[in-house]
């Protein structure tokens, strides 16, 4: 006996519907096949190609890629000039992440706890718009700000605080003719560009801190500072870590900002870009690109253990 449907099946569409109903897995497979083919072939396939290339090496005399397995290219990463790049990038990413967390917290806390109605929408849009607006336009804006004759220099001159900037620029390692050619400038622009990525998960985590807990903490005699340290901060931590995944990862891979602003010291992204382009050393470029993947995998594993994924 087959199904005795009240409405008889009329055409292919109806018969397919009956099939989907009886075998939901067929529908699932139909839905998933195109996107998984795309992501599997285009994206994972490319990552595999990247990994494969990183185990090749380049012939030093002819400049031709030798397609045989070797760890020589990875060995080259540990040459002092290359290792410097790795250390510099990771240090910058860590500093940018810390600065973003410090700057984001008041904004996220205010938006989550105090902003109501229209203000809440304004805060949300106020963070979303810079996040989504053109990346290059924002970097360009900072070029205008940090240039020697730019607005920051003008403001310093008007307020007679130019000595602060020149003082900063004379610190060993941070030198430059202006902020736009100093690592300080690179740092500032990184912080600016990635700040919204920190605010949003942080705010989401803070929204989930129940007011009753803050009240309970106050009832039990905690001062504001104590409540903040022992109640708010631990509960917001997953959100902070979730945000730090973005700021850290994005800084690790960026190659536009250090190219436009700063003293043209190399970063991982720039090394990848230059090696695959003008230098034509694809294996070494691939090996450089594998480093952020490894760092991010470790970072994600730690973040997962600290419960940051629930806050994403």
């Amino acid at each position: 006996m087959t199904t005795s449907a009240i409405l008889p099946a009329r055409g292919l569409a109806d018969r397919l519907t009956a099939l989907f109903w009886r075998r939901p897995k067929v529908l699932l497979a139909l839905l998933l096949t195109p996107p998984l083919l795309w992501l599997g072939v285009v994206y994972l396939g490319s990552l595999a190609a990247l990994l494969l290339q990183s185990f090749y090496s380049i012939d030093e005399f002819s400049g031709v890629v030798k397609e045989e397995f070797t760890l020589k290219t990875y060995g080259e990463l540990f040459r002092p000039s290359n290792f410097d790049i790795l250390v510099r990038t990771v240090t910058m990413a860590a500093l940018v992440t810390l600065a973003c967390a410090a700057l984001a917290f008041p904004i996220a806390y205010f938006a989550a706890r105090y902003a109501k109605g229209h203000w809440k929408a304004a805060f949300y849009l106020g963070v979303m718009l810079p996040l989504w607006s053109s990346y290059l336009v924002k970097v360009y804006a900072w070029k205008l700000i940090l240039a020697k004759e730019g607005i920051l220099g003008w403001a310093a001159e008007q307020t007679h605080t130019g000595w602060i900037i020149s003082g900063l620029l004379s610190i060993p390692g941070l030198e430059g003719s202006s902020l736009s050619t100093s690592p300080i400038g690179t740092f500032m622009v990184f912080v600016y560009i990635w700040l919204p990525y920190m605010i949003l998960p942080m705010q989401a985590a803070l929204e989930r801190v129940p007011n009753s807990m803050l009240e309970a903490s106050a009832d039990l005699g905690a001062t504001r500072g104590q409540t903040f340290r022992t109640v708010v901060l631990p509960l917001a931590l997953p959100g902070i870590i979730a945000g730090s995944i973005f700021t850290f990862s994005l800084t690790l891979g960026d190659y536009i900002i250090p190219q436009i602003i700063g003293n043209s010291a190399n970063f991982i992204g720039m090394a990848v870009y230059q090696l695959q382009g003008t230098a034509g050393n694809i294996p070494l470029a691939a090996a450089f690109a594998v480093v952020p993947i490894l760092i991010m995998l470790i970072y994600l594993a730690i973040a997962r253990r600290m419960g940051a994924f629930d806050a994403l």
């Binding site: 839905l31 490319s46 205010f110 360009y140 004759e149 003008w154």
Partner: protein, 272 residues
């Protein structure tokens, strides 16, 4: 008793942070009107609207990148809309084997730094001898746009009550009719929002694009044009004029996307 008013220091820090996020963008607008062509002197020595006419009439190099960017963004968004909606539809169903892995796979293209996506695609194209073209750019863009559409679609689908789908089936609609007359109208604004965000993202993307466009093949998107102008400037204010156009092209879709997905309480099946 908790006060509803924020401490002054917190209010100052929060407002300061928001100003920090917005003031730089305003400067771009100001410098589009400056009379000084070569430097970034502040305050600008004079104001003029001359650069808008220059950009429109005297700089033919702006138009091909603009058209290319629009084309790439349109095609990449269409691909992402289809693929993203399909995954979202699958992921809102009951748990199945590999569900976690798939959600990670969708997220990966934006979780890993763009330079990795770019370098990975570039080495794959190199290994398979695929020449760089508009299509290699689109391939890369569609890959990271999927997650944007997916996020919007999946959020709406979760809010959608399963009851309306069952009701549609009970009333005799087949799967395709349910999709056309029940699912699509309810998903519409979320898909539009996701599509707009994906468009904005693609229109503005530069980090992956540089790797997938190939150098010197003539396939130059507007952000790549802008980057060239930043490194080797001529007529700096013209770059600002284009920057304003790029800003507007991403600003309005974002604003529209926000209003389209805000609240969402009008979604059918919510008033249970």
């Amino acid at each position: 008793m908790l006060s509803d008013r924020a401490p002054l220091s917190l209010r100052l820090a929060a407002t300061g942070g928001l100003l920090f996020l917005h003031l730089p963008i305003l400067l771009i607008f100001l410098y589009a009107f400056t009379t000084e062509e070569r430097s970034f002197t502040f305050p600008p020595p004079g104001l003029t609207t001359h650069w808008f006419t220059t950009a429109w009439y005297d700089r033919p190099d702006i138009w091909p990148p603009l058209y290319l960017s629009l084309k790439v963004a349109a095609i990449a968004t269409s691909v992402a809309l289809i693929l993203g909606t399909l995954v979202a539809a699958a992921m809102t169903r009951a748990a199945f084997f590999g569900r976690e892995q798939i959600s990670l796979l969708i997220l990966l293209p934006i979780a890993l730094p763009g330079v990795i996506t770019g370098m990975a695609l570039r080495s794959a194209f190199g290994m398979m001898d695929i020449p760089f073209s508009t299509w290699t750019i689109i391939l890369g863009h569609a890959t990271f746009c999927i997650v944007i559409v997916y996020n919007n679609a999946v959020a709406r689908m979760r809010r959608l009550s399963g009851g309306i789908m069952e009701a549609s089936a009970d009333l005799g609609a087949n799967a395709f009719q349910t999709f056309r007359h029940v699912l699509l109208p309810n998903m519409g604004s979320a898909l539009l929002a996701g599509g707009m965000l994906a468009f904005a993202l693609s229109f503005d993307e530069v980090i992956v694009t540089i790797f997938t466009a190939g150098s010197g093949t003539g396939a130059k998107t507007l952000p790549i044009w802008m980057l060239d102008e930043l490194i080797r400037p001529r007529q700096r204010p013209v770059t600002n004029v284009v920057a304003i156009v790029v800003f507007a092209a991403t600003f309005f879709p974002i604003l529209a996307a926000y209003y389209l997905t805000r609240g969402g309480s009008e979604t059918a099946g919510m008033g249970k």
